[in-house]
């Protein structure tokens, strides 16, 4: 029995993975894993996911070079969510921010605030959109 067999993926065979930077505690992103991407993540020590929008297996950083080195893989009491500690190279967010969670709303009806500086220009990382 593999580790994945102990988990409870959804009807599409996917499980959400929260990615946290171990050294800072910053939650960087959330993405989805299937069995192949979790197996590959454990075997290589680099995070791999399943893109629901592109229906594609992908390694974080395959285009940008901003890979994630896995430090620990935890799972929750219900077995339906992963929490993965990583060390992140560069910015985690494809928008150029350290974390994908760079916007907050403080209270009901309040305006959205940008809560961290943009570290990189996405066009320089991923190329200009056609």
């Amino acid at each position: 029995m593999t580790f994945f067999d102990q988990l409870k993926p959804n009807a599409e065979g996917l499980i959400p993975a929260i990615i946290q930077e171990q050294s800072t505690g910053r939650v960087l992103m959330m993405a989805w894993m299937n069995r192949a991407s979790l197996d590959k993540t454990l075997a290589t020590g680099k995070t791999h996911f399943w893109s629901r929008s592109r229906q594609k297996f992908w390694m974080k950083g395959e285009t940008s070079g901003h890979t994630q080195q896995v430090q620990d893989v935890a799972f929750d009491c219900d077995g339906d969510t992963l929490l993965i500690q990583v060390e992140q190279i560069g910015a985690a967010c494809h928008e150029g921010y350290q974390s994908c969670f760079y916007r907050s709303v403080r209270e009901s009806g309040a305006a959205v605030e940008i809560t961290e500086p943009r570290l990189e220009d996405p066009e320089k990382i991923y190329g200009k959109p056609a």
Copy 2:
């Protein structure tokens, strides 16, 4: 337009919410919110969710008293995940651990390890199962 209208819930109208303890950086749990639970969370400052298994609106801590006081509500670049900073009363996990992510697997094929002490006896919090 409410804050929820800026988000992209799934086909069931739900969005995953990662709950992080602001003072320690510990990720405590992940649960699902619908529009009503997010609105209630913002209005009251206490986390409210939608239980997919029980098909029920619930406030965290309504049985255990282990409520979560909201400090910040962030959302990701794709608008499909929330990251909520809280201060947690008592243990977050219904199994009596501080965090629901109390188990880890370090590498492919490795055994599962319990990574934190159990703080409370679930039977004392929720009552003995019948």
